[in-house]
Symmetry: none
Subunit: 416 residues, 2 copies
């Protein structure tokens, strides 16, 4: 029977010892009997998403975990978000991440997220889509989760070397930034900055008087009357996992970045409104979706954003509780899937997010691989301390994924 792999990616799982938890990490403080069983019967180690000492974003960490070298294929966040909303990019297109925002007539930002607008963004996006800019440059515009959206410019001589109009998080009261060429000597960059500025001005005119915003104002809500842009990027050619190896992959996820990367790398994306990419996501429903996917796919990635959310909120107790819920879901999958005896389990994260830092750090991520035929080491628990003496040693995200693929026999031989 063909071997299958289930890779559980707990976003930001790695942490540091915390005083209030008795100098244990949230993962070590959590009761995780199923993770520990996998550790006891498998091989553990520490993983650096890119390289020791290098902090990564979820996008870069996930690219590595999907088996790519981010230094070669990373292209900025825009194209990833475009893939996440099914916008097909051409090779000369430039994509931006976009936020619906509330901006005054003099350019001051009242709310960078239009008070976290949730309803009506589809209609607003439709009003901006297919706009034509100077020189026939075409606009593609799609709403994403909540206040988020994606802009793609299609035309001649475009460049991703432009600065953002979005000044970044928590910048209420700040002015919208002027979009400029970040490579001033590039005519294409200068041109793209002018076109993005033209888009921003025309979008403002359209949004200002849009019925959705008129209704929002009537209801005392902030209007989504501006589109902030950032993360310009071009598409890099990427061969899908199926092209590179003899394998078919699926990714169970709620978060748009993860879904975008999964699509770019040729994975089928399995999502559901109950997958909220937050602490309230339906973990058991995700587990069931992963279990079902194992029937049709060789490798299934199960992504959970929760640990990273709790870490950014500096809440180690919430992080431990979430990890315990994932452990329960993991036990459910183990009970159902191990009956087939052909599933290799892998536990990892896209990076560490220590609660006391509240940000991604370069601390290595505890990882393990377990299953029929997988080597064993002396580690008996899944945690940062225990995994540091594991038999996998220390490896990169890319090497970790390749090791999993090798164990399900879908890789090929270099040399003869």
């Amino acid at each position: 029977m063909a071997k299958k792999a289930l890779v559980i990616i707990q976003d930001g799982v790695g942490d540091r010892p915390i005083e209030s938890l008795g100098a244990r990490t949230p993962l070590e403080a959590a009761q995780t009997p199923n993770f520990d069983k996998l550790a006891d019967t498998g091989i553990c180690g520490l993983m650096d998403p890119l390289s020791p000492g290098i902090r990564v974003g979820t996008d870069v960490g996930m690219l590595a975990l999907f088996g790519y070298n981010p230094l070669r294929v990373y292209c900025g966040r825009g194209p990833i978000e475009a893939a996440g909303v099914n916008l097909e990019m051409g090779k000369d297109d430039v994509a931006f991440r976009a936020n619906f925002a509330t901006v005054t007539d003099d350019g001051s930002i009242v709310s960078r997220r239009a008070a976290r607008i949730r309803e009506g963004t589809g209609a607003l996006a439709e009003a901006l889509d297919k706009m034509t800019l100077s020189d026939g440059t075409q606009v593609m515009f799609r709403a994403a989760t909540e206040h988020r959206a994606v802009l793609v410019l299609r035309g001649e001589r475009l460049s991703h070397m432009v600065t953002p109009s979005d000044p970044g998080p928590d910048m209420a009261g700040e002015k919208v930034l002027e979009i400029q060429a970040s490579l001033p000597q590039s005519a294409a960059a200068q041109r793209t900055a002018r076109l993005a500025t033209e888009f921003s001005r025309k979008a403002r005119e359209i949004l200002q008087n849009h019925p959705i915003n008129q209704e929002r104002k009537r209801n005392g809500l902030l209007p989504a009357n501006y589109v902030l842009l950032r993360g310009a990027g071009v598409r890099r050619p990427m061969r899908s996992l199926a092209e590179r190896f003899n394998t078919r992959g699926a990714c169970v996820a709620g978060e748009s970045t993860v879904k975008g990367i999964a699509k770019m790398t040729g994975f089928a994306v399995i999502s559901d409104p109950a997958f909220t990419a937050n602490l309230d996501t339906d973990i058991m429903k995700k587990a069931q979706a992963a279990l079902n996917a194992l029937k049709d796919f060789d490798i299934v990635m199960l992504h959970l954003k929760g640990p990273d959310i709790a870490s950014h909120d500096n809440d180690p107790a919430a992080k431990s509780r979430f990890l315990e819920q994932v452990d329960t879901a993991c036990g459910y999958i183990m009970a159902k899937a191990l009956a087939h005896d052909n599933v290799v389990f892998a536990l990892t994260g896209d990076h560490s997010t220590p609660c006391e830092v509240g940000e991604h750090t370069a601390d290595p991520v505890p990882v393990l691989i377990s299953g029929n035929g997988v080597l064993r080491d002396n580690v008996k628990n899944y945690g940062e301390h225990a995994c540091s003496s594991g038999g996998l040693g220390r490896l990169t995200g890319n090497q970790f994924l390749l090791s999993v693929l090798d164990l399900i026999d879908v890789t090929y031989r270099f040399g003869s």
Copy 2:
């Protein structure tokens, strides 16, 4: 007294836990008191021939173990086989692996190995050697072990970017493939494909009526009436180990690929008809040859193909038995050589070949280094599980060889 190193390379030694062996690997199940003594007195670890998760062939694994970066120097199998039969390649030559085969007039393969022909191949090769092709392209052709041979084309504007005529193992009944440029836009590749096709046609004419084949037919044997080609490659410049370091190396081996790589890297090759590159090889004779070589050389590689053969045959018991015989031979060398107190012992493999897979995998290889002055760790046995907590950690084949060279003081300092 100068230090010496003995590196015992057990081909395909690494394995996975096997149910019938009580969830132990063949190495763990074998009684290997001498290997264990080296583990107890030395330092152990896990080795990835190239990088974690990457499967390698014997050629690539051996290049790494001889201290080279296969990504830089690997040139296809042809040039390695050419070195194995002492064919000196020029920098513009292209070498192919060749098989004597039995092929019908319409191009169907009756036997890819001419029924594993053993006798008369030297005379057949001589009849093809020195043939001249279009544009004055010269042919060098040599018989190798059994049905195997090597073709080198010498001329102007040749390329290794051509496809094989050999459809691969177990393809009786299949047609001979047309040799084509694998880089269609390259005129040199197109030209080389034409020349290799011309060689194949002329070789068929010569072989069809050769006295050796007429005699084979009279004796009811399949004629060796065709030369199948594959593994085209060019020579990459490689500095010998003696050029790179202050050292002289010898390699005790029976297998032609290993002998070829040893020659390419400047090692003296010590072989003997009793070294069969199979389970029936004369292990004690090899051990004696290695012991003798330690007198004249600084580093001696002792290669044993047996474990890989047993693994490809899915025979863990045979693999264990062979490893026990190597352990005994290792004990013999230890008893004789340690009297001098100056030999560093290293145990490794070129890759893992788990019996239950029957193919090379990327599972890391258990390794150790032991000898006077070598660091010790807590590992007491030589095996996959034990070595996973060893003090060498996890390193590449190249790094392993350099570590051994360093321990015998033949390396140089980077920096001042």
